[in-house]
């Protein structure tokens, strides 16, 4: 029943009649919001917490949603703010840098079997550089490239979600790619 409703209709329904309608919104956007948070934070635990906080905040503030923006825009804005807050708190803790090194995802598990250990080490090193390069981007550029590569959204969807012109989205993506290229080309590792 609720599957055919738009996000805005679901919000209205959740506010007026049935709070459980918000569950449908969560179901639609949980993967994308989680992907966004992971791309912004690069840590599963932090991404999960940020996504959870996003939906809780959205649910808590449902009555205040006036429909001036799309529900997707609203959720993305909350999620990005949650991610930036988490990142600031993490930076404030000096011991978090050591935790980051210890909790890096084990990339070996997904490495192809035919790769030699030396190649695997190189690949791990390259992935580490990519993560660092993306995380070092300014938030507005990082958000666009994460939405494009992690959430796999089109330019039009990104423009609607972020409530900005299509040309601005393309411009930011161009700038983000350019900066990533400069950071990654500084390293002596070869690209495969």
């Amino acid at each position: 029943m609720t599957a055919n409703l738009t996000d805005e209709q679901l919000v209205e329904l959740a506010v007026k009649e049935n709070p459980d309608a918000f569950g449908e919104i969560v179901k639609r956007w949980e993967r994308k919001i989680f992907a966004l948070c992971f791309g912004m934070l690069n840590r599963e635990e932090d991404a999960r917490d940020a996504a959870q906080e996003t939906f809780i905040s959205a649910y808590r503030n449902l009555p205040g949603f006036r429909g001036e923006a799309k529900v997707s825009s609203w959720l993305h804005r909350i999620a990005v703010n949650q991610c930036l807050t988490k990142q600031r708190r993490r930076k404030a803790r000096p011991e978090s840098a050591l935790e980051d090194e210890a909790n890096l995802p084990q990339t070996n598990r997904a490495a192809p079997r035919h790769l030699l250990p030396s190649n695997r080490a190189e690949q791990n090193e390259r992935l580490k550089l990519v993560r660092q390069a993306v995380l070092s981007l300014p938030p507005e550029l990082r958000q666009v490239i994460v939405m494009k590569e992690f959430e796999e959204m089109t330019f039009q969807q990104i423009a609607e979600t972020l409530d900005m012109p299509l040309s601005t989205v393309k411009s930011r993506l161009y700038t983000a790619l350019k900066q990533l290229r400069m950071k990654l080309e500084k390293t002596p590792l070869e690209f495969v």
Binding site: P19, F22, G23, V26, E30, R31, F34, A35, F38, G39, N42, E44, R48, A51, Q52, F55, I56, S57, A58, Y59, R60, N61, G64, R66, E68, I78, N81, P105, T107, R109, A110, A111, Q123, R126, L127, V130, R131, V134, I145, K148, E149, F150, T154, F155, S167, K170, S171, L173, Y174, T175, L177, K178, L180, R181, L184, E185, F191
Partner: protein, 268 residues
């Protein structure tokens, strides 16, 4: 469209690089761009560099994220949220409200500005000098000028007491009634003291009379000292009463008074 970092800004196809890269381009535009790549080395190099970056980011996604299951997000019930929100500090509640209500930022800022202006106005108002005291200093001086002519003729001691607060007697520590017997023209005296003054000081001074023969008016000396003493006497509300000064050595007030003028006229 793009910023100054763009290498091939002069190339008219630069805007299409990301569209072509992500294959979000029309068929005809794609064909045009492909033929352009054959002729434009900078665009070709740009496409190659961006492709490598893309593949690295996609590899990162595949390695770290693709295999992760989607967490189960629990939305607490309304009651639980109310309980949780009550446990939040007031700062967190305000912050959460402002975070999700950008329109309220304007209202909050306007309210903050109004509160600051009100606070400043209150501070400025309170820092102004006590008007009552200042006014009270003037009025007795004016009343002294308008004292009855008999005061001048009496040549004796002339007590000028303003009908101040009842605290006046308390301040001076004396409940002695006003001695107006030496003052002739009681009606004038009544007029002089008809309007209640806001002051609360008592001044005793010998008032020199107008010389009948010469008609010389007595010189009036400045009564600033008396006024100052009077100001000292009248305490501000709520403050401790200062020590009462000795008023016996106050200079004579020889300033010109209206009563003197009237007296002179009547004599003529």
């Amino acid at each position: 469209m793009f910023n100054d970092n763009q290498k091939n800004a002069s190339c008219r196809f630069a805007d299409e690089i990301v569209s072509y890269l992500y294959d979000e381009i029309g068929k005809q535009e794609k064909l045009d761009f492909q033929s352009h790549l054959a002729d434009c080395a900078s665009c070709a190099e740009e496409i190659d560099g961006f492709s490598l970056v893309r593949s690295s980011v996609q590899q990162w996604r595949a390695e770290d994220f693709a295999g992760l299951p989607t967490p189960v997000f629990e939305i607490p019930s309304a009651k639980t949220l109310e309980r949780d929100s009550s446990s939040l500090s007031w700062f967190e509640q305000i912050r959460a409200f402002l975070l999700l209500s950008p329109n309220s930022l304007t209202r909050s800022a306007a309210f903050a500005v109004l509160a600051i202006c009100a606070g400043l106005a209150f501070f400025v108002f309170n820092s102004l000098p006590d008007r009552d005291v200042a006014q009270s200093v003037k009025e007795p001086a004016m009343k002294a000028n308008a004292s009855p002519t008999a005061a001048a003729e009496a040549g004796g001691r002339n007590s000028v007491v303003s009908e101040g607060n009842k605290d006046d007697n308390q301040q001076t520590g004396s409940s002695k009634p006003l001695d107006l017997t030496e003052i002739k023209g009681k009606s004038d005296a009544k007029k002089a003291f008809a309007a209640p003054a806001k002051t609360s000081f008592r001044v005793r001074a010998e008032q020199p009379s107008v010389d009948k023969q010469t008609g010389a008016r007595p010189k009036r000396s400045a009564s600033a000292k008396a006024e100052k003493e009077a100001v000292k006497i009248s305490p501000k509300p709520g403050s401790k009463q200062p020590a009462l000064p000795d008023l016996t050595d106050i200079e004579e007030d020889n300033s010109l008074r209206l009563s003197d003028i009237f007296a002179e006229i009547s004599m003529r």
